[in-house]
Amino acid sequence: MSSYYEASARERLLGLLDEGSFQEILPPSARISSPHLRQLDTPAAFDDGIIVGKGLLDGKPVLAAAQEGGFMGGAVGEVHGAKLTGLLERALDEKPAAVLLLVESGGVRLHEANAGLIAVSEIMRAILAVRAAGIPVFVLDGGQFGCFGGMGIASRLCDAVVMSEEGRLGLSGPEVIETTMGVEEFDSRDRALVWRTLGGKHRYLLGEAAGIVPDAIAAFRDAAIGLLRQAQAPDLSLAAMQAEHRRLANRLERFGQCRDAIDIWRSLGIEEPAGLPLLEIPEFVARTQDRRA
């Protein structure tokens, strides 16, 4: 079983799509890399840490992007961001069955912070434009660096997020919080705390992630196919936003006083909440059925 967590972005993408179907746009040989890194004496990558292209999933045409966490933590720079925005806008022309985003990103790349921040904003606008055009956008999150910063926001603009337990999703990373607010606020070395706050299981129980899968490329592929088969036209109506608004209000009301994820899981009525992190995914899903927020 091939681990999604350990694989490179390229391996994930090739393993996720139908075999032999992936065609890369602006591949490494095009050498579209960051001019800014070079200027700061920092090594650049031929694909600027993101692979974009088209392929088939379950026989249906899709556009897909994969961020490489091993290169600068998957952080978004000018070129990296423009490749993702361009791909999303391509969906407006090609009308694929879906756009798949294999995210792994610490957020904005500091070496080109302004370009990165604006790029994330453009990605966000583009995601919403694609969805408004009736094309679903699905996020897969199971890489080593998690998904933080602007990409954490962007991910939640999409139709669904599928995570593994090892995946993380948030806005400020634990190290950032520890640095700014102190170790008492968030001890980033307490990895159990980090994962039960930001990891796949909590996101799934909270309703931030639509699905949770074991750490295997094949499991992510199956989940993506599942999403594709059940896909409906994205609903961005006022009614849908109001429903989401109530859901988020409800979350604040129910869990706003909770100090820890375990408190939240307990208030969800889950038995032995402290034991959840140890459960394998099928057992976890069974144990928490009908208990998700």
Binding site: R10, L14, P27, S29, T42, P43, F46, G49, E68, G70
Partner: protein
Amino acid sequence: METLVFDYRDGKPVPASNRPPALVGVVGSGNLEVLVEAHDLSGAARVEVVTAATGFRPIWQAVLDDFFNRHAPSNILISINDVGATPAVVSLRLDQAMEAFKAGGAA
């Protein structure tokens, strides 16, 4: 950062020179990416290295000499972005990249 270029002659032709490029590895600490492309270099082969670790030209030379003794490719351009990978990792990636290239590009 340092850019190093190495040229090799008298290699053996790699069959079917219109193969798609192959890329292996990641530009992360202690690692490197290796891009192998068919390139008409009149029978020569060229390696272009951009590395974050400066001052190691003789070691690159020795690693690449051994690589060419193993594979002896011609009409090939190998481009490397390196973040201080050890020679062991460099040799491994070079071998993997050649293998992927001969297999048709997929990493």
